[in-house]
Amino acid sequence: MSKKTPKESFLTISVYLTGYSQVDLLGTGMLDTYYNTFVENLEIENVTTYFKEVDQILDNSGNSEEKINEGITKVLFGSALVSLTTNLITMWYTGNWGQDVISPESYTQGLIWNAAQAHPPGAKQPGYGSWADEPIEIPTI
């Protein structure tokens, strides 16, 4: 139905799996790396199967978030695919694939730091002495 590339499907489903917006995910600059990591670490049949299921969920949802989440729970968290799905989520949040750090960038770009309103130790520093102040909160809308 849709003419999405696998990478586009990967991005779209990642939005639902991570809870971060598409722009948030693109803003990490890690889409290509993570997509490649995902594809390279799987057998080709598994890749094909995974994206077939993802596309089916997205295409049959009629853009209903509820339906997409339903499909995710049933299929992507089903016994056959759950380990791939958790790996994918872990990858966005920690920059790791399994136990391995994917790259120096992936470590700093992990969503975990945003989620915790923290910063990756040794990188993305918030400035000398800033630990004495409360985290910055800038109200938006």
């Binding site: 917006s21 598409q22 722009v23 948030d24 693109l26 803003g27 990490t28 600059g29 960038e105 993305k124 520093q125 918030p126 400035g127 000398y128 002495g129 800033s130 102040d133 910055i136 800038i138 109200p139 938006t140 809308i141």
Partner: protein
């Protein structure tokens, strides 16, 4: 050459300003108008600020781990521009004015002309490129490098020369002098930890003149020397003025010690990778995106952070100097938000989004 590097060098004063002062007299510039002087100092703050967003865009657009020389150079220049801005505010505070740093028209709309400077070139928000460095060279160029004429100031240095002469004259002609501002309004080096340059608090005319020297020296160089004068400070390496730093990047070559200010740099080659940048679209605006779209929201959040920083600087320059240090966390946050935008594709033409530096409520 070495004598000319020195601060408070009267010969240098004369060299820079005589020709220009003559032209000020020719056009009946009222150096004795105290209100005009305050206005000009406010404009000086705006002028210094107007260079910061373009420099930051170029700096942030460089991909991590590449263009080390350019990154270091542009970062040091941005820091100095911010110091200039604060020093201009210090001078204004010292004569009883009040700097306004967070008003709606404080941020220029890019592409923009430089405030107060009568030159035709427009300054963009854009990625690091040969084209943008060329514009930066024009920003920092001293008037001696280009033809004169017209009614306005033709370089940042000329503008400051007018301010300096005005300060001297009005102070001399006012009983008790004009440096009557509250000393506690001054932002001092205690509120700033060093990344080059220095922050001069202003309590009297001499301080004001020193601050102006520092600003002019760092921008255009002193007497057409390529050095900025800071190297006298203990332990500092010889620092080039901004114009010459940009010129090294532009020509991908360092100056050699014997180069004169009119020469192209002839020293060691520098590794500049013009392609190792995020391809940020020029002069992005929130209005480029549908209201409420993710990119609109991200850009808005960036602008909110920028406003928080301007508010912070405003407070720092209006009685709460300690706020300057607190602003550091905002500056880092601003960078990370800008980078997120630069990594996000804008439409399908290979261009990326970018920080728009717009006033928001």
């Amino acid at each position: 050459m070495e004598a000319l590097f020195q601060k408070s060098n009267s010969k240098r004063h004369r060299l820079i300003s005589n020709k220009f002062l003559q032209s000020l007299n020719d056009r009946n510039f009222d150096l004795l108008d105290f209100d005009k002087l305050k206005e000009n100092l406010q404009s000086a703050i705006e002028l210094e600020h107007s260079t910061i967003p373009p420099y930051l865009c170029a700096l942030y657009s460089i991909k991590e781990g590449t263009n080390e020389f350019a990154v270091k150079t542009i970062r040091s220049i941005v820091v100095e521009e911010m110091l200039h801005m604060v020093m201009a505010a210090n001078i204004l505070n010292a004569i009883g004015g009040s700097p306004a740093i967070n008003t709606p028209d404080f941020i220029p709309e890019y592409p923009t002309k430089l405030p107060m400077i009568d030159e035709t070139f427009m300054v963009d928000l854009g990625k690091f490129s040969k084209e943008s460095i060329d514009i930066f060279l024009q920003i920092e160029k001293s008037a001696d490098h280009k033809p004169h004429g017209g009614d306005d100031y033709h370089s940042i240095g000329e503008f400051y020369t007018a301010i300096r002469e005005s300060l001297i004259l009005i102070d001399k002609n006012t009983p008790g002098g004009i440096f009557t501002g509250k000393p506690e309004l001054q932002v001092t080096s205690e509120q700033y930890y060093g990344s080059g340059g220095k922050l001069i608090p202003v309590y009297c005319l001499e301080d004001a003149l020193e601050a102006i020297e520092e600003i002019m020296g760092q921008g255009e160089g002193i007497d057409n020397s390529i050095y900025d004068g800071d190297q006298e400070m203990f332990g500092e390496d010889k620092e080039y003025a901004h114009y010459f730093k940009f010129n090294e990047i532009y020509h991908e070559r360092k100056y050699s010690p014997t180069d004169k200010s009119d020469d192209e740099p002839s020293g060691h080659p520098i590794n500049i990778e013009w392609n190792e940048v995020y391809n940020m679209q020029k002069n992005p605006k929130m209005s480029d995106y549908p209201v409420g779209s993710e990119l609109y929201q991200k850009t808005y959040e960036f602008n909110k952070t920028y406003m928080a920083l301007l508010n912070n600087l405003h407070d720092a320059c209006n009685g709460q100097p300690d706020m300057l240090l607190k602003g550091v966390a905002l500056m880092y946050d601003l960078k990370y938000k800008a980078l997120e935008l630069m990594k996000t594709p804008y439409e399908d033409d290979g261009l990326m989004a970018g920080p728009s530096f717009e006033y928001v409520n």
